[in-house]
């Protein structure tokens, strides 16, 4: 047995009044391609890379839930900084690609990076006609670095 419906008296007309009021009001819309939307500084638009800070530790690639970060590197012999010391091996970055067609913007890579090599940038206009162009390489990721807003100062302890 189905439940009877009570006559929804003021509710129906309250709704009508609301939609009518909304219709004559100005829609709060930014006409995007003509007027640029300005995102908040900490918006998650695109991830940028500081190549000099990266140590090829692979933590970001391993933590990425989508496996969209591709890293390749090699060890380079470096002479010791002090005379007579043992030569050091330094990891050098060959390839650092983020596939933005797979990325889900969770930011785990930025969180886990132990050397602060990855940063969020609020830039969002990088759509492409071809999916394969969404694979951003090392150079492109470095270019985004210029758009990263300055980090807020540390809280006083």
């Amino acid at each position: 047995m189905s439940k009877r419906i009570a006559f929804p008296f003021p509710g129906l007309f309250k709704g009508m009044w609301l939609t009518l009021k909304t219709m004559v009001k100005r829609a709060p819309v930014t006409m995007y391609p003509d007027v640029k939307e300005i995102p908040v500084p900490r918006a998650r638009g695109v991830i940028s890379l500081d190549v000099d800070a990266c140590t090829v530790c692979m933590l970001c690639a391993r933590e990425c839930p989508d496996w969209c970060i591709y890293i390749e590197g090699h060890k380079e012999e470096q002479p010791s900084s002090k005379p007579g010391g043992k030569p050091r091996a330094r990891a050098t970055l060959d390839r650092f690609d983020i596939d933005y067609s797979l990325c889900m913007y969770c930011g785990i890579c930025v969180e886990v990076c132990p050397f602060d090599a990855l940063f969020w940038s609020p830039e969002y206009e990088y759509s492409e006609d071809n999916v394969s162009d969404l694979l951003h390489n090392k150079e492109k990721l470095t270019d985004w670095l210029a758009t990263v807003p300055e980090a807020p100062g540390l809280e006083p302890s």
């Binding site: 009508m16 939609t19 219709m23």
Partner: protein, 336 residues
């Protein structure tokens, strides 16, 4: 004038009116609906306010492949949109836009309208059955059950108008509303039937019209969340366009009938004769667009009724009330 020439002229005018009217209503729905949801809606198509959006949509549909499912009953499947479209366009034959601005003023005008608009049920059932798809079949059966349930109150409240006007001709019904109701200080006052005691009938007519159109809040036959698109599921391309245009054209048709029955049609108080042929269509279009806006407004405000609630509303409320309406109107007609 030559009979055939006149016939072709009337056909072209009616077809042109129905198709452009449907496009205008689609545009109005897109725009009004968007603004009711704090959006802007179509904006770039056509250069200004997106006026060409319905045309662009139509062109896109025309380019799509006209598919028929392998298991479908081809003949019935292909014929169904034409039946729906035909039943809608045929209604416009008797709708008067002025004393002489009418396709053909039938003596049984309102009877013809109710009979021919029920034919669309047949088209919808044909579409639902021939698609060889369970969603389509359920949607078609729901549509049939709903259209039959709401056809009854529609007929009954129209009967009340016929009783009050004393004629079935739509032109006659308009004339009955234009004639003098009473005189105050030498000024003849005439009023549409809405004011002359048909307010209940008008409300029931509008509710039943929304249900006839299968629009929200009565859109169970094409409820997306449960039936994909109901009887329209398998249709694509030009045939889908015909169903779509047919829905909006019948929105205009039902608004025109409601305007004629309850709002006085093309009649303007104090104006008669040949001038009415000129300003009549404008007055009629104004009343039609008011009622069409009401349909759009309701669609973007209210939620959908469940299938059993929908039947409950028709059989337990609308039909008894419209029967009582007939009785009351008849008594008043006899007494006064």
């Amino acid at each position: 004038m030559n009979f055939w020439l006149e016939l072709i002229l009337k056909l072209v005018v009616i077809l042109g009116f129905v198709l452009t009217g449907a496009l205008v209503v689609i545009y109005a729905e897109l725009k009004a609906g968007s603004h009711m949801q704090s959006r802007i809606g179509p904006y770039y198509a056509g250069g200004r306010w997106g006026w060409a959006q319905p045309l662009a949509d139509g062109l896109k549909f025309l380019q799509k492949e006209d598919l028929a499912p392998a298991a479908a009953d081809r003949t019935v499947y292909r014929l169904a949109p034409y039946v729906v479209m035909m039943s809608t366009i045929a209604v416009f034959v008797v709708i008067p836009f002025g004393p002489d601005m009418v396709g053909r003023d039938l003596d049984l005008g309102i009877y013809f309208v109710l009979a021919i608009s029920s034919l669309s049920v047949l088209g919808i059932l044909m579409a639902g059955w021939s698609s060889a798809n369970k969603y389509s079949l359920i949607g078609g059966l729901r549509a049939a059950a709903q259209l039959i349930a709401y056809e009854l109150p529609l007929v009954l409240v129209s009967a009340a108008v016929v009783i009050q006007a004393g004629t079935m001709s739509l032109n006659g019904i308009v004339a009955a509303q234009a004639q003098t109701w009473f005189t105050i200080g030498g000024v003849d006052i005439s009023a549409p039937f809405l004011i002359k005691g048909q307010i209940v009938g008008f409300i029931i007519f509008m509710i039943a019209s929304v249900a006839e159109l299968s629009r929200i809040p009565f859109d169970m036959p094409i409820a997306e969340s449960e039936l994909t698109m109901g009887y329209l599921t398998e249709y694509s391309g030009i045939r889908f366009t015909m169903f779509f245009l047919g829905e909006y054209a019948s929105m205009i048709a039902l608004s025109a009938i409601a305007a004629t029955l309850y709002l006085g049609g093309y009649a303007v108080p104090g104006v008669s004769g040949d001038i009415l042929n000129i300003i009549g269509p404008g007055v009629m279009l104004l009343k039609i667009s008011l009622l069409v806006f009401l349909f759009i407004w309701i669609r973007w405000t209210w939620p959908r009724l469940r299938e059993d609630q929908l039947q409950h509303l028709a059989w337990r409320w609308l039909i008894p009330i419209s029967l009582a309406n007939i009785a009351v109107i008849s008594i008043f007609k006899v007494v006064f």
